[in-house]
Symmetry: C2
Subunit: 324 residues, 2 copies
């Protein structure tokens, strides 16, 4: 590990006994009896991001790397604890950029109560590859949130606002500079997503058991929750919490928000009274919206109610996740 | 995760409650109170390996990915428990190759008592990038092996045989086909290193506290252990456990074994009687050699005794690990 990165690595204190600042081969931390939630996620230049996107500093790249992994822990209802970081960096990346990357990683980690416990730096003759492995814990007496276990008649609800990241990606891929405040907001949703760590713990605390993050798309996530319970679903297009400027500016904006969303929001399924309780708590404690967007029902497939008519959308399941 | 990889992922059983076979965003396992040792290590095509090396199948690549990470856990005296795998694969990699990669990963994991708990697959427009994050535990009542804490007068000892991997890398970089049985053995030391997981636990069990793996070179590891105790060392060139064919075939073979070794062996430092006890246990239980190769002493720097004369070798410390 580069000595100049030490300020961005967590000092060995609290449960972290040996961290990346030390000369040892691995990190060491203390555990309590209970459940560990662990995830690994990688960002590849040219696939997940491009450095020629406008005003995309290395610090935000680092924040995003942590955010997408924190979102995976959030989706399971875990409290983040420790992170291991592996960066593959070509020679064109300057030492200053590496420090900024680590600064962003450290910011998001600290905000989530997570240490940066260990890391690895490699050269690469190719794109930048950033990997984080994260470990969290489930509070004693609670169970992890799961995709499976939903029941017919339960409602579906999603946190926050959807569609922004998809709209941002659209601008970036079209090589457009964001001009309006709405466009800047959409691009920010791509650059610096907000993982719903605290929101997930509120969902758990009111008794919700079924949830997942919608980073592969809201529709895909509805399908996963429905399919793992052998159910279908009806989604209300006009209940989707679309970004207001997006709803105004585009016809059928709901379709983008439903199908292409890459927002790091949570989808959950539960009896309606539980969702109402969660909604109140989320508004009060985090000023975060929870929108009921549909219902799980017997049968198969997802139908969307648009202007009073039910539209059937074909499954994205088979083959969709080939190399993801 | 690809469905066709499921046979290579560990089923949720024992401490693993939710694994990569499930549809969830993260793995979940149960922990006992104690210490977790965690490490992450990446192999990059073109830097750490080349696919055009002779007879280098994807299965061995997978075995090596696990072995280098298992070696990091071994160096801390940990029992491996769970692994997360992240693979970045360009389109030229066939599904069959991915399965073979996972087969090799699974083989090494199982042999070390480690589950393959989670994973991530990404596309990449560039080289293959393979990352593993591993978690192990330290037995109750034991402390992790550390690089720091050695004392003046302690002896240095290394497991197994050194120099093979460096000789193998030499052949591969010279684009030579291995022809003799010795050459095939050297290349095998590169392709399929044996992590010293059990050996490290024997070192611990006899009371040894200071150790590290020599994958960055035996000399570098001696230097790390000596420097972190503000000590120097004398190394006996004729005591280095060099591969016999290497010793016969090359003048100054000791220099290669000492400086360039990439063997995944363990170096440890302890009072001589402890090392003798460890030597007996390693021979009896694992049929593994432990060779005393030198002594830590007051002062600075590493000196090597060659044909009765002390040779000083300059420090590799500063700047050496820039992007490693």
């Amino acid at each position: 590990m580069l000595r100049s990165l030490r300020p961005y690595l967590s000092p060995a204190s609290g449960p972290l006994e040996i961290g990346a600042r030390e000369e040892d081969d691995a990190a060491v931390w203390r555990t309590e009896p209970g459940r560990v939630v662990a995830t690994v996620d990688t960002m590849v230049e040219g696939i997940d991001f491009r450095l020629d996107w406008p005003a995309y500093p290395f610090r935000l790249l680092g924040r995003r790397l942590m955010a997408i992994n924190l979102s995976d822990l959030a989706a399971m209802g875990a409290q983040p604890r420790h992170a291991l970081i592996s960066l593959c960096l070509p020679g064109r990346v300057r030492l200053r950029d590496v420090r900024e990357l680590y600064r962003g990683i450290g910011e998001r980690a600290r905000a989530a109560g997570c240490t940066v416990a260990g890391g690895d730096l490699s050269g690469i003759d190719g794109p930048i590859v950033l990997t984080a492995a994260l470990f969290g814990t489930i509070r004693p007496g609670r169970r992890p949130l799961r995709r499976s276990g939903a029941r017919s008649g339960w409602a579906l609800a999603v946190t926050g606002t959807v569609g922004r990241a998809a709209a941002g990606i659209g601008l970036l891929l079209a090589e457009k500079q964001p001009k309006t405040s709405a466009e800047r907001r959409w691009v920010r949703a791509v650059y610096d997503p907000q993982p719903r760590v605290e929101a997930a713990q509120i969902l758990q605390s009111v008794g919700i058991r079924v949830a997942g993050d919608i980073s592969d798309g809201l529709y895909r996530e509805i399908e996963r929750i429905a399919q793992s319970a052998c159910l279908g679903a009806v989604v209300e297009a006009d209940q989707l919490p679309l970004d207001a400027d997006l709803r105004r500016s585009r016809k059928h904006a709901w379709a983008g928000g439903l199908m292409e969303s890459e927002d790091y929001e949570l989808l959950c399924a539960a009896p309606r009274p539980l969702l109402e309780a969660a909604r109140r708590r989320l508004r009060r404690d985090l000023d975060l919206q929870l929108s009921i967007i549909g219902t799980l029902e017997r049968g198969r497939g997802i139908r969307v109610r648009v202007d009073g008519k039910l539209v059937v959308i074909p499954s994205l399941g088979a083959g969709y996740e080939h190399f993801r």
